[in-house]
Point group: C2
Chain length 317, copies 2
């Protein structure tokens, strides 16, 4: 299977420059001096997560003739916000198909970006999205199983390599694997001595199981939904798994309690509000040091869209 | 009185480039479309506040011959952390004089940066600091009443003008006035059509009273200490007041309740943990629109060092 290249990622970086924020690396004065830590705060993107990068690259690649027919995505999470926000920035109509159990606050946020929200039974999401694509001639923007989306997420890795060429370890969350695939492509090309380590919740550790087995191991949606990290419940595709197999130097898992503790550390010491999915890399840094390479470490804080009540509950302990 | 120049600020920017984080402007998708809002998140600096900029510029300007004798500062707040952190980065010894009522957590943080902490009765702070300077031949780094410190804080304004040349309104917290003086110097030089508006807590509104009176109006420390915004309890000096008089286009005040609400908005919508002093500009944006110019607005989130219990209390409402 043909993998994306660093040239795909550098081309993506030009396309998304006006849409995504160029997030800085934040040095952490409180880190272990033997393993200096920088955070890459993607929770500060306009929609609160890195997903804006892949959506921007994929939408920028839609031919002018197809743009008036718009885009479609199915997601209840950050990818939905990203597609809605980017489509509005490009002036394209967007339809987001969400399951009927989606929290009202997320539906309002998606509508707030000007998107049409289509509410369907959860099992009908893909069918309805495909029907909209067929009826309207719209372009489907998948959350990770797409070369342009992977290349867009990889722009984050370009920035890490540019800002810290001597980086030794990059910790990246793994769900569908789009972010990890893109970031590893960029980092391995531009900072080849760096090791790229995936991080998953133990309760959705299917990618770790797959990498250990050397083939895609499927966990049931019910199993994967046990984790509080609602952005990390997807599973890799054949395309992303091919990237992860070739490019990742390792993968570690973290517990739910470690994720909660990392959210509190990020709030109190780094002044960042992270969602559970965004905190897994910090959890790994804090609690999995024996499984990680030494040296200058970057932890990707992938998103910040946590339910206010959940944040308060974690901070009150 | 001779004011600092934009050339002083651009020279400072080179000196601090390796110490301070180049923070991005964060566009807020949730803002009023008629007054688009960008946040300048200085709470993400290594010590959690903009103060690192002024400290870095002042310490970088110490002649090589004087460096081994170190630096002294008296502060219980972000300036102490900044001087301690920057001195460590430059390899200089630092002594920080703090009043005996300083929370243990702040003393530990200062020691964590390698500084000597000298604990004294609050009324003795300046005397002890001056004695240390005299005894050791050390250099005193004042929190705001110093041209190099003002120029260092101004680098933040350079970044605003570079990242958003079409900015219409810059909202900046005012306490001793070092940040506002430096930022206004840079913004007025590089984005001359922008208006720079100071923001103070109502309960420490001495700079607003002084600007209205056209002369420095002194409020008692007891009055100024009523605000929760502990970083905004200082009062301008003759030097900073001269800058504010010439360069500020206005100043507004916000209530304690508005500050608390802004902290919650920043956490939930912008994924940033702000301290009360860092939230006053967002409070002004949200609650003082009738007193502010229209147009593209930048709110400086000056710091994030809030007591964890205070943050939790605000988020639980």
């Amino acid at each position: 299977m043909e993998l994306i290249t660093v040239e795909d990622v550098t081309a993506a970086a030009e396309r998304i420059a006006d849409i995504a924020v160029r997030t800085p690396l934040l040095p952490c004065a409180w880190a272990d001096p033997d393993r200096p830590l920088w955070l890459k705060p993607e929770n500060l993107q306009p929609i609160g997560a890195f997903k804006i990068r892949g959506a921007a690259n994929a939408i920028a690649r839609i031919p002018a003739s197809a743009r008036p027919r718009g885009v479609v995505a199915y997601s209840s999470g950050n990818h939905a916000q990203a597609v809605a926000y980017v489509a509005k920035r490009f002036g394209l109509p967007a339809a987001i198909v969400v399951p009927e159990n989606t929290p009202a606050v997320k539906i309002e946020a998606t509508r707030g970006h000007g998107a049409e929200v289509v509410i369907v039974p959860i099992t009908d999401r893909e069918i309805v999205a495909e029907r909209l694509v067929a009826e309207r001639g719209a372009t489907l923007i998948p959350p990770f199983d797409h070369r342009d989306v992977i290349a867009g997420q990889g722009t984050l890795g370009l920035e890490v390599a540019a800002d810290l060429p001597s980086v030794d370890v990059v910790l990246v969350p793994v769900s569908g694997g789009g972010l990890a695939s893109g970031v590893a492509t960029a980092v391995k090309a531009l900072a080849p001595s760096a090791q790229v380590i995936g991080v998953e919740p133990e309760l959705a550790g299917d990618a770790a199981a797959s990498l250990a087995a050397g083939r895609l191991v499927r966990w049931s949606p019910q199993d994967r939904e046990r984790t509080s990290a609602d952005g990390l419940r997807a599973e890799p595709s054949e395309l992303t798994f091919a990237h992860l197999t070739k490019l990742l130097d390792g993968i570690v898992t973290v517990s739910e309690e470690e994720i909660r503790e990392a959210i509190a550390v990020l709030a109190h010491r780094a002044h960042l509000v992270a969602e559970p999915s965004g905190a897994v890399t910090t959890a790994a840094y804090l609690h999995r040091s024996s499984e990680l390479p030494k040296g200058a470490t970057v932890a990707i804080v992938s998103g910040g869209n946590i339910n206010p009540a959940d944040l308060t509950a974690i901070l009150t302990g």
